[in-house]
């Protein structure tokens, strides 16, 4: 992240690494990683202190150290990897499925006004149905196996990706579309070579939003007969009134969600280097 360089230095593309002399040395105190850890660290410390001093009794909110122990315990007896692994697998599959559906439908709706009139109203209506409401319907349609869980997550992923694609497409500058048309591109090529790249910033936000929602839908998905997974852990924790299980699952959601988002964010900086962005102050 070369954010404190000039906006015109083109660091992403021309490899300024050969010219270290032009890069101002970063102060170690304002290193992003360090800055980024301030709040989480503060949170953990304050929470630990409050727990130790019993402002938060353990039956309400166990101390971070207890949570960590719980997680380490799960890691040691091996159940952690099962929970994390299966949930990660479900989210990944659901994410791919939901994104694929959103790209296809979103491109159609963004591009053809009849497709918009046809599909968009229904999709917009479905968009505000809570994940829990889908549960009985999905069980009815798809049973309680893996497919219904993945489909449920795909539903969550679908909406933000769809919304961002449609809006991204309709925000594409007419001028660039005209360039494509002049070179005789057909609709499909136009979408692939002009519209998707131009709508990429919006598409990527959609992906990140969608992935977040995918993690959120895990709980509903794993209400459908799961015997493993983070959502399962959360619900069992709530059913058995075990706060450390609940909080451990929340922490795991946060950590793994953050990691998966980080991957997409990297992708974003990689693929959007061509944007003519202003430098942040």
């Amino acid at each position: 992240m070369a954010k404190n360089q000039s906006e015109v230095s083109g660091v992403f593309t021309t490899g300024s690494k050969s010219q270290p002399s032009t890069i101002k040395p970063k102060s170690p105190f304002t290193h992003p990683l360090l800055l980024g850890s301030i709040f989480p660290a503060l949170l953990v410390v304050v929470w630990e202190l409050l727990s130790r001093s019993e402002v938060f009794p353990a039956y309400q909110l166990p101390a971070p150290s207890v949570i960590l122990e719980t997680i380490v315990g799960m890691a040691e007896d091996g159940t952690l990897w099962g929970h994390v692994g299966i949930t990660f697998y479900r989210v990944l599959m659901g994410f791919l499925l939901g994104t694929a559906a959103a790209v296809v439908l979103g491109s159609l709706v963004g591009f053809y006004k009849h497709a918009e009139a046809l599909f968009d109203p229904l999709i917009q209506a479905f968009r505000s149905i809570p994940s829990l409401a889908w549960v009985p319907l999905f069980i009815l349609w798809m049973g309680i196996g893996e497919p219904s869980k993945i489909a449920m997550i795909a539903v969550g992923v679908f909406f933000p990706v769809y919304l961002n694609i449609v809006s991204g497409i309709s925000g594409v500058d007419r001028k660039l579309i005209e360039v494509g048309k002049m070179y005789g591109l057909n609709t499909f090529q136009l979408v692939r070579r002009i519209i998707l790249p131009a709508a990429l910033p919006s598409f990527l936000v959609g992906l990140r939003s969608g992935l977040g929602l995918g993690w959120m839908f895990v709980v509903a998905a794993e209400l459908m007969g799961a015997s493993q997974g983070l959502g399962y852990l959360l619900v069992v924790g709530q059913n058995t009134l075990a706060p450390e299980t609940i909080i451990a699952s929340i922490v795991l959601f946060a950590v793994i969600g953050k990691l998966s988002d980080w991957v997409l964010k990297k992708l974003e900086t990689r693929t959007l280097h061509w944007q003519d962005r202003a430098a942040k102050s």
Partner: protein, 244 residues
């Protein structure tokens, strides 16, 4: 290819931008389109290109009515319109067909002609205004279109680069016998390049005069014939200012 406009006009939300323009370009002819700012030159080019289909009147290519985009038509827009996510080379290969290597070679050749051989890997945000315009020229020429529409192609270039590229244009014209419509504000340029010059006037723009330049090519810049034509064009433009 021949190109024919009959009483072409365009109205935007009730306000006419250009009216009643008719002319014919024979295959291989270079037509200049001159006129004050806002008189409808770009609008006419858009209509000819097929991008805009809401015009009134009739446009024919090879005596066939068209109101759609033709693959054989090339359009260099008034702005460079480079695709910001492609580097210079990929922007030029954008419209080309064939295998990768061939496309690259061809694009490279045109980039060299416009003096940008070193800048192949740059992205649009790293280009100067004139460089971006030259990339756009290379992109438009590389597809060797049979009808080439040029909207102020050299406006951001210094006098000498401009002359070089005018000659490049003539070279392309000689090789492919493209029919061209060239919008320009540069009277020297119009006199040097065009077979016929159409001067628009007023708002909405109408055809004020047609000037045919019979001087054979290669023409000599600064020759007395050129000076005479230039004076004639200027005179016809001068009238226009009265109504601006």
């Amino acid at each position: 290819m021949s190109l024919q406009l009959e009483r072409v006009g365009r109205t935007f939300a009730g306000k006419a931008a250009v009216q009643d323009v008719s002319f014919r370009a024979e295959p291989g002819e270079i037509i200049g389109l001159l006129g004050t700012s806002g008189c409808g030159k770009s609008t006419l080019l858009r209509a000819i290109s097929g991008l805009d289909t809401e015009f009134d009147g009739l446009i024919e290519i090879n005596n066939k009515k068209v109101d759609d985009i033709q693959k054989t038509t090339g359009f260099m827009f008034q702005e460079p319109r480079l695709l910001p996510w492609l580097n210079v080379l990929d922007n030029v290969t954008f419209g080309l067909e064939g295998n990768r290597e061939e496309k690259k070679k061809k694009a490279g050749r045109y980039l060299e002609s416009v003096g940008l051989a070193d800048s192949e890997k740059l992205y649009p945000k790293q280009l100067s205004g004139g460089m971006a315009q030259r990339v756009a020229i290379a992109r438009a020429l590389a597809t060797s279109p049979e009808i080439l529409l040029l909207d102020e192609p050299f406006s951001a270039l210094d006098a000498f680069t401009k002359m070089q590229l005018q000659d490049l244009l003539l070279e392309v014209w000689r090789s492919y016998q493209s029919t061209m419509v060239l919008v320009t504000h540069d009277v020297d340029e119009a006199a040097y390049l065009c077979d016929r010059i159409i001067v628009l006037r007023g708002q909405p723009g109408k055809v004020e005069r047609e000037i045919t330049i019979t001087e054979p090519r290669p023409r000599e810049r600064g020759s007395s014939e050129q000076a005479a034509y230039k004076a004639e064009i200027l005179a016809s433009l001068d009238l226009t200012t009265d109504t601006a």
